[in-house]
Subunit: 429 residues, 2 copies
């Protein structure tokens, strides 16, 4: 009888695993709570009016049109019974009924969630950038605040409405801060008279872009500051409210927009396996991507904890997720044939971050260091190639070309009914 | 002292009025509850995954970048005091505070809302197509139902999930029914195994496209039926529930998607003027667009009731709204100079409706009758020219070219937190 693999998550790990299994001698059930794959590295561009939601979201079904062995289920996992080889899901299709799905092989690729390190006060007052819904909520929020600021008399209250504090100087924090500043300086200043935007990037440690070599770190910081973003290093957030943030040195910044990009942790799905978790709530896997101590259960990507040859865990990054997803699927196919599994060997092509128009840093093959315009072109090219689906690629490209030459941002509609994260925000009278 | 005009509504009437007043010797306050102008004739394309929201929504502020005399306020009108020349608004910027705005001239251009003719049962179980939020809610709903249908065993319940009843055989109804059928037949059938979509267009009268000449009406009906849409004329809806619709002949259609395109009435703002209203809740205006009996209060577009030379009211259509908006603004400028106002003379270029790929009817200058491919090309060209903003036009054009050659619909993401109109829908077990 044909064996059945269940894949949880249509992110980079799960989608690539499913692609390997397409049209092979195995039934595959791919589960996600969204009907689309999200190109997460560009979420900040949706939040800052640079791209439309659908340009970075690719529906899952068309990817597997030609693969009769792959089914898709729009649902969220509620429990996993590894002994019985059954997972329970709750449908996300408008109906809340539960379903049980049996599996012979299970691949968990549910990614990560924002890590607030237990700080509920920060969580309650923060915006995240982990999903399309997060991005749209942030976009709506920023657009509304500017509409409010222009009709606000009190100058302190007005300044707080147009001040954003981005926490975390990793790639996401830098990219978001840079894109916001450009949106403010190049677009909003032409349309909202008398407003002075302020973007503050705060970071608890003393580094921006910690994984990069020192000269690229300072290049990134310089490019960010030359753009107009204030950078505050060694400045953990100690208090957050709907209309201000307090840093460790006691300075208080009036703001209605705190964007938390200071860390991620494994999806809470990891808890359902009943195994001991590593730092960041990640599941320790063997180099084959199978979970230590569980048979035919594979965990890949941000959820997985695996150390490299130097004893360092592989980073929670897309290339790792992709490659582990492919390996997990290949090892399932090998297992079906009674062959020994392969072990993970990470092919590291490098890291890059963009700070704005013509501003970026790239560290390629752990050797080549690029900054400024060249790094930015490299970043653009890579992201276009990486975006799934020809149509999206073309649309995104045109959008970028348009934005580059016109300094414009056309995607500026406040769509109704996106939840406001901090609905009780009050302008100081 | 500079006089002040307040314009309510950034639809076709209000936007064109504001454009006439841009950079003239008058202060203008333009008010809308959205920060964008909606190209309403293409709402159905957003609902059927053909276009992205931002492609038919143009932010208001960039339109008036060069006009220092025009301010924009994101708010909803709550009351109008014509004696005191003051309107009260509630801010739509996340803060609910009220503001009062004084005016010397007032232009009301708040458009229309769906007319359920007092049928609360139908209203509670219907989707509308009057706003971008309506379109997104319908899009989410349809996408979710297909995801549910594919996992539903019972064949009647499954059929109800993939059946849509569109009520009203005017242009909106025809266009929506046609676009839905194409979405189902050309896209979904390749991705959802074993589902049989059914689109029923029902109409209370015995005509499709009533304002068109007979030969175009039958051409439209033929094209619709050749596509695969069921047309039921003389069939008023007598009962509606979350999972079925009953027509007057007693036939019951299992469906979770009732789209109401059977009529519109003037915005409830009309009630705030305290004048007697005409049929459809419209405000009787003089040929100058001023309200009968009120000084310097102008009403234009769908809200306005004005009879033509034959005693027929001008239709609730975009060209009328545009031309009345321009006239109202011109008459305000004339009044400032102490000149006599001009009277409305409608320039009627014709009407057209598209039924799907290469299918359409057009009746131009009340003389030329086009059908099929030629009418469709005419429709495409006109709508591209009419869409505000070069960028949107380019994006829409590319989207259409793409859809035409690939039979694809790329905009298929279910975005979170759009309200479901009928949250209690239950699959018949």
């Amino acid at each position: 009888m044909t064996k059945r693999a269940v894949i949880v998550g249509a992110g980079f790990g799960g989608l690539h695993a499913a692609r390997v299994l397409a049209n092979r001698e195995i039934d595959v059930l791919l589960i996600d709570r969204n009907n689309y794959h999200t190109f997460t590295p560009l979420l900040y561009q949706v939040a800052t009016c640079g791209l439309e939601a659908s340009e970075i979201a690719h529906p899952v079904r068309p990817v597997f049109r030609g693969a009769g062995n792959i089914s898709f289920l729009l649902a969220e996992v509620t429990s996993i019974d590894t002994a019985g080889q059954v997972i329970t899901v709750r449908m996300s299709d408008g109906d809340d009924r539960e379903r049980e799905e049996q599996y012979d092989y299970l691949i968990l690729a549910a990614g990560s969630v924002t890590n607030f390190f237990g700080n509920e006060q920060v969580k309650a007052n923060s915006f995240e950038l982990k999903s399309l819904d997060d991005s749209l909520a942030l976009r709506n929020h920023i657009l509304r605040l500017f509409e409010r600021a222009v009709w606000t008399q009190d100058s302190d209250a007005r300044q707080a409405l147009t001040t954003v504090v981005v926490v975390g100087a990793g790639a996401t924090g830098l990219e978001t801060a840079g894109a916001l500043y450009e949106l403010y300086a190049k677009v909003f200043q032409r349309e909202f008279a008398g407003l002075t935007p302020r973007i503050v990037l705060v970071e608890a440690t003393d580094k921006v872009l910690a994984p990069y070599p020192e000269e690229l770190r300072s290049a990134a910081r310089e490019q960010l500051e030359s753009l107009g973003v204030e950078v505050r290093l060694g400045a953990p957030v100690v208090e957050a409210a709907s209309n201000y943030v307090v840093l460790k040195d006691g300075s208080k910044i009036g703001t209605h927009t705190l964007i938390w990009a200071a860390g991620v942790k494994a999806s809470p799905l990891a808890d359902m396996l009943g195994v001991k978790l590593e730092r960041g709530g990640r599941v320790r896997i063997k180099p084959t991507t199978e979970v230590e101590g569980l048979e035919r259960v594979y965990v890949v990507g941000d959820m997985a904890y695996l150390e490299d040859a130097h004893g360092q865990p592989y980073p929670m990054m897309i290339p790792v997720a992709k490659q582990q997803g492919v390996l997990a699927a290949e090892n399932i196919l090998r297992d079906l044939k009674g062959w020994q599994p392969h072990e993970f060997r990470y092919i590291d092509r490098g890291i890059m971050a963009t700070i704005g128009r013509s501003r970026a840093v790239a560290y390629i093959f752990n050797r080549i260091k690029l900054r400024g315009y060249l790094a930015w072109i490299a970043w653009l090219t890579l992201h276009l190639i990486a975006l799934l689906g020809f149509h999206n690629r073309l649309a995104v490209f045109l959008h970028w070309v348009w934005n580059y030459f016109t300094f414009d941002r056309s995607v500026r509609v406040i769509l109704g009914d996106q939840p406001e994260k901090a609905p009780t925000m009050q302008v100081e009278a």
